[in-house]
């Protein structure tokens, strides 16, 4: 749609448009709104298409100075620096026009006329906008999707990138010279082979799907890229280029990697739990009743249930009577109070068999101090352990019995000796020396009494006689026992009392309490060679799990009776033997070696525990832990 080109001509007498009529005819033929103006700026001719822009009929405009839009067009053309012929795009009204302005010289007159032609290019402009807009939209979409696009032209192996490609590769728009050799510098050394295959596949006209390789950016960061590409065809249906999208999938890859590691960790943990020789289960308590979340192989073997069948009935699966009162109640209480606990209880297998189980429960806390809704449960079958412990206990009993008989024999033999010898000799002197005989009788009687005491001690130790236990105020009994024994202590011994158990009531036998106190205080006094302070203390104490398990009692509140001296103390060997019956470091006649054994068996009879700590030359401390009576009512404070 080029304009009519008129060659610059020298003025001549004749011109193709030597009159206004032929000029008007010329512009009427133009597919544009056009007018002709003379040198003075008056309209010489105007075509019908110009009427819209002129705003009046063409004939009405002729002979008048040009004005309106055409005046605007003419002024702009004249401003175009003396260029005789010019064209430009000019918006006007709702449309766009391509304005051509060129001279039309008339040969007849020496004046120069100008043609001003405005071609309507509005439709073309709109199409151009649409293309630009769709390009912008694509760019925006690829930017949002972190997607770069590229083209590889086969003939030249040249490459075209979308702006986001530069972002992905960490280079500025002018910071990278295209070319496959330059590009290879980006590719991660381990992925070079992969990249070469991807590149040559595209040159071979193959489509790509999720082809992945790594690049190393200028800043050293490693990124994972993913390419998808297809072939482009030209108008003749011939393939000419590869068009591809490129995505930075590093984050996804990292997540994938982390997920893989997490899965691997999980798998290892599961394997390890399944290899554990202890039954391990995880119980959740965020629903109405505790549910089994997981049970390892040993737990399943011990109970006969698998995790899913355990889930059906929860803890009730393992009880002889669902909902019944048994040791499992304690386990359920730990769930309710978010504490840990250890239990020995009867566990029912799926086949109905019952075994003695050790169950340990520990809360799994997300945050410290927050109530736990997940618990780990360890389960062991201790039936066999118990039997073995029973056997060991039995053999220990036999050993103790041997020691007991040896010890009793030694004591009794030594006491029978004077009885036997002096009763024989006494007969010789019955008539001649009554004073001697009287002396013999005294020794015989005292030896017989000592023998009787030995037998009594042995019986207490053997617990042949079971004394009646009743609820008593323990502080009162201890105070009374101390009162009684005070007078019998050597004058150098100071008795320091610190009885702080208040109204604590224990199930004890008053005679046994005085026996215990007497034995411990006598031992303390002996250890100090009759000179020093014996501290007797009674208090209520809380035993935590560690201390309680060392004493083989349950954690909680106990009544502690301690007797401490600053005496000679004991070495660890002696300390290890103090509970053996007849073990003594005292000279014959001063101790039977039964004292601590008796204390031990008495305290065991109360359901309590006895512990002795000692250090050579530092002193000895004996501690008795006694449980509270179930009800806090004393039958009497003492009797």
């Amino acid at each position: 749609m080029g304009p009519l080109i008129t060659k610059p001509q020298t003025p001549s007498s004749s011109s193709p448009f030597d009159d206004r009529v032929s000029a008007a005819r010329f512009i009427e033929a133009l597919p544009a709104a056009a007018i002709i103006v003379d040198e003075g700026g008056d309209v010489v001719a105007a075509n019908a298409r110009a009427e819209d822009i002129l705003g009046c009929a063409a004939a009405a405009a002729i002979g008048r100075p040009v004005d309106g839009a055409f005046k605007l067009f003419l002024d702009r053309a004249i401003r175009a620096a003396g260029v005789e012929q010019t064209n430009f795009v000019q918006p006007f009204g709702v449309g766009w026009y391509m304005i051509y302005c060129f001279p039309l010289q008339s040969g007849a007159v020496s004046e120069t006329w100008r043609v001003i032609a405005a071609f309507d290019i509005t439709a073309m402009k709109h199409a151009e906008f649409e293309i630009r807009e769709s390009e912008a939209r694509l760019e925006e979409a690829t930017r949002i999707a972190q997607l770069g696009t590229y083209k590889i032209f086969w003939q030249t192996a040249s490459v075209q990138w979308s702006p986001h490609m530069y972002v992905i590769h960490g280079v500025s728009l002018d910071g990278f010279r295209h070319g496959v050799d330059n590009y290879r510098n980006f590719v991660h050394p381990e992925d070079r082979e992969t990249f070469e295959r991807i590149f040559s596949d595209q040159l071979d006209g193959k489509a790509l799907r999720a082809a992945e390789y790594r690049i190393i950016r200028g800043d050293g960061s490693v990124r994972w890229l993913r390419l998808d590409a297809r072939v482009l065809f030209d108008a003749d249906g011939e393939p000419y280029a590869s068009f591809g999208t490129c995505q930075d999938v590093t984050e996804g890859k990292q997540r994938e990697q982390e997920l893989k590691q997490l899965l691997r960790r999980n798998a290892i943990l599961y394997e390890a739990l399944d290899a554990s020789p202890i039954g391990v289960a995880v119980v959740t308590t965020d629903r109405a009743r505790p549910e089994f979340f997981y049970a390892n192989a040993e737990f399943e073997r011990l109970t006969g249930y698998n995790t899913s069948s355990l889930s059906d009935n929860g803890i009730d699966s393992l009880r002889a009577h669902p909902g019944g009162a048994d040791g499992w109640d304690g386990v359920l209480r730990t769930f309710a109070t978010s504490v840990s606990g250890a239990f020995e209880l009867a566990c029912t297998r799926k086949d109905g068999a019952i075994f003695l189980a050790q169950v340990e429960v520990a809360p799994v806390r997300d945050y410290p101090g927050r109530e736990a809704t997940v618990f780990v449960l360890n389960l062991r079958d201790i039936t066999l352990d118990r039997q073995r412990a029973g056997q060991i206990l039995q053999s220990q009993k036999m050993e103790a019995l041997g020691q007991l008989s040896g010890g009793v024999a030694h004591e009794i033999n030594n006491l029978l000796q004077p009885i036997l010898a002096l009763s024989d000799l006494g007969q010789d002197f019955a008539d001649t020396d009554p004073a001697k005989v009287r002396k013999y009788f005294e020794v015989i009687a005292s030896s017989a009494r000592k023998a009787r005491d030995v037998v009594r001690q042995v019986l207490t130790f053997a617990r042949r006689d079971t004394p009646q236990l009743a609820a008593h105020n323990i502080a009162g009994l201890v105070a009374e026992a101390l009162n009684l024994l005070q007078s019998g202590l050597p004058p150098g011994i100071v008795l320091q009392q610190d009885l702080h158990a208040g109204e604590a009531i224990a199930l004890v036998n008053p005679t046994q309490v005085s026996q215990v106190v007497l034995n411990l205080v006598a031992n303390a006094a002996d250890a100090m060679n009759g000179k020093g302070t014996v501290a007797v203390k009674l208090a209520e104490v809380d035993l935590d799990a560690t201390r309680a398990s060392a004493l083989t009692v349950a954690p909680g509140r106990w009544i502690e009776l301690s007797v401490a001296d600053g005496g000679c103390g004991m070495d660890s060997y002696t300390l290890s033997r103090i509970f053996e019956p007849f073990y003594t470091t005292k000279v014959a006649g001063k101790g039977t070696g039964l004292g601590l054994s008796v204390v031990y068996s008495i305290v065991a009879g109360w359901g309590g525990a006895l512990k002795v700590e000692s250090e050579v030359d530092q002193g000895t401390k004996a501690m008795i832990y006694n449980p509270f009576a179930p009800s806090q009512h004393a039958t009497s404070s003492s009797d």
Binding site: G406, P418, E580, F582
Partner: protein, 123 residues
């Protein structure tokens, strides 16, 4: 008649043994432990020793070791009630091993002890 060293920690046993020996015409010196016996042995000359086994400070076995170790062949009669933590039968071979001439078990009759003394004293 013999001069005898009696080593015994129990006063009652010591009394009854001394009475048997003195009634039989022997003279007796007392010691309550092996240590005390060694002191007495240095001070006097004895014909025989009658010793308990289980005693504090130095027991009868240790005393025997000391005596025999010093080359003293004095006749020794061991009187034993058995050790508190050992079977009764353990005492005799133990005492014999360390050089006791005769072992008598408590409680013994007067005649048993006197016979043992005679056995120990006869060459």
């Amino acid at each position: 008649m013999a001069h005898i060293l009696l080593v015994e920690d129990s006063p009652e046993v010591s009394l009854s043994v001394r009475e048997i020996l003195t009634a039989a015409g022997h003279s007796v010196e007392d010691a309550a432990s092996g240590k005390e016996a060694l002191v007495r042995l240095k001070g006097s000359r004895f014909d025989a020793i009658v010793s308990d086994i289980w005693m504090p400070e130095m027991d009868g076995i240790a005393l025997l070791k000391e005596i025999r170790g010093a080359g003293n062949n004095i006749p020794v009669v061991v009187i034993s009630g058995g050790a508190p933590n050992a079977p009764l039968t353990y005492t005799a071979p133990l005492a014999a091993t360390f050089g006791a001439n005769v072992v008598v078990y408590k409680p013994f009759e007067r005649a048993e002890l006197l016979k043992a003394i005679n056995t120990a004293l006869s060459p």
